[in-house]
């Protein structure tokens, strides 16, 4: 499903973010990515939806080698990968409703289906009453939930969550985790970079720990493993 072989990533400023990384994740898995800040977690997940390309090594998604994937095919890869960005990446001039609908417009859903599905996910993330607001009018946690809604709205095969609970209060965090477990139960692969010890240690899943661009630990039903 997701396969990385000897991946190195050196950014143009000379920083090496990933260092000989090997990983294999199956369809339907739920994986936490943990590690200190700057360890390379975001870089790792960015390789999956090809926001970044490896400097050397290869990345396969569903047996497709991303290094040979044609530029015009990239949008179709990204439709299969819903991403909750660490910095949300909402379109500032669009309303919350329009932001979420955008992910369905690109796959040319019918307007009726779009309306129904967008209201459904808005309900799921508890933002039905904010549908007409623009991102700037929302709190950090609310924006994060919009990002979550947009990521899952088109039923992607893989959901990538880069610190999806970073701005949320504990109650909302658990609510979001329940949503993730639900879509995971229906077969969606979930990859979640997180600093939340409580979540990792409570909802036990596979844990991959990255430090200095290397996988230092990879265990099923693992622990968070760091203090704080």
């Amino acid at each position: 499903m997701i396969l990385m072989k000897d991946v190195y990533k050196t950014y143009s400023n000379g920083v090496t973010a990933l260092n000989s990384l090997n990983v294999d994740i199956d369809q339907g898995e739920f994986v936490y990515i943990v590690g200190p800040s700057g360890a390379g977690k975001s870089t790792f997940v960015k390789l999956i939806y090809r926001e970044e390309r490896p400097t050397t090594g290869s990345v396969f998604i569903n047996n497709v080698d991303l290094s040979t994937l044609k530029e015009r095919k990239v949008p179709y890869l990204r439709r299969d990968v819903g991403v909750i960005f660490q910095d949300f990446k909402l379109l500032p001039k669009l309303t919350i409703y329009e932001n979420i609908a955008f992910a369905l417009e690109v796959i040319e859903e019918s307007p009726r289906a779009i309306r129904k599905r967008v209201m459904e996910v808005l309900e799921q993330v508890g933002l039905k009453n904010k549908a007409r607001a623009i991102p700037d009018e929302l709190s950090g946690g609310e924006q994060q939930r919009v990002s979550i809604a947009r990521a899952i709205v088109n039923h992607p095969k893989i959901v990538i969550a880069d610190e999806p609970t970073g701005n949320l209060d504990p109650d909302t965090s658990w609510e979001i985790m329940r949503t993730f477990e639900k879509i995971n139960a229906s077969g969606t692969t979930i990859i979640m970079a997180t600093h939340s010890k409580e979540i990792v240690n409570t909802i036990k899943k596979r844990v991959i720990a990255i430090e200095g661009g290397l996988i230092v630990r990879d265990e099923n039903r693992g622990e968070y493993g760091y203090e704080i």
Binding site: Y49, K89, L91, E105, V106
Partner: protein
Amino acid sequence: MLGTRIGESMAMKFRTMTRHIREGFKNIARNGWMTVASIAAVTTTLILVGAFLALMLNLNQMANKVEEDVKINTLIDRTADPDVITELGKEIKDINGIDSVVFSSNDEELEKLINSMGDDGKSWELFEQDNPLNHVYIIRAQNPEDTMKIAEKVEKLDGVQEVNYGEDVVQRLFEFNKYARNIGLVLIIGLVFTAIFLISNTIKITIMARSREIGIMKLVGATNGFIRWPFFVEGLLLGVIGSIIPIGVVLGGYDYLEKVVSGQNKYAFVDILPFNPFAWQLSLIILAIGALIGTWGSVMSIRKFLKV
């Protein structure tokens, strides 16, 4: 089976197109003062282009009229007998580029002369008994610029006494017209390119501000075409909206100009193109140029941001 599938995909294309058009309209509203700036740029340049086009096309029209009036008067030898005259007429017709050859006898010539002189012409009536004028062939060239070449050829034919076409004036007129047209053309092309440059720059600034948004759209799985269409619609709209005021100026201004000119027409021989249809045609041209520079500007400026 296949039919329904094609039907479905057509419906899909149609509703996506509807979506792009809707987004294009919404972007006009979403982008606030950037929209205003772009429209202002289009408006200014189109007013310039419109005024200049009106001037150019009228000058061109006047030049054409003057040129069309150019004709060659071939004075026929007074001693030539009718056979020679008929033969000469045939020979002239055989020259390349002749539009028309009309025979006019010396009596007809005298009558024209007398008529053109008005009251003073009376004194010429004396000559009706003993006409001093020649029979003539009046020649018009298909292409007025060939007048000189044709005149030279005609002069050499048998039975020709003299050819007459206002040599100096005609030559200078043609040269002047040629330069005027070329310079005008260059100016118009230059103006349109300046306009495109100006507008694509304005739009580039607005898109620069939106490059982050374009990046986000791509990360959410939008294809380049999907992103480009609303921009295209937006550019088209900017161009069309930007041409409203210039069209108003052209219609109003030309109407006024025509009134002023026709008020003086008794004295002057200036004759401008009639408001209907000229002002309407010009409006259409302005609209077309506006739409063109709007879409072209937006398509050109978005290109590099799509390589995210």
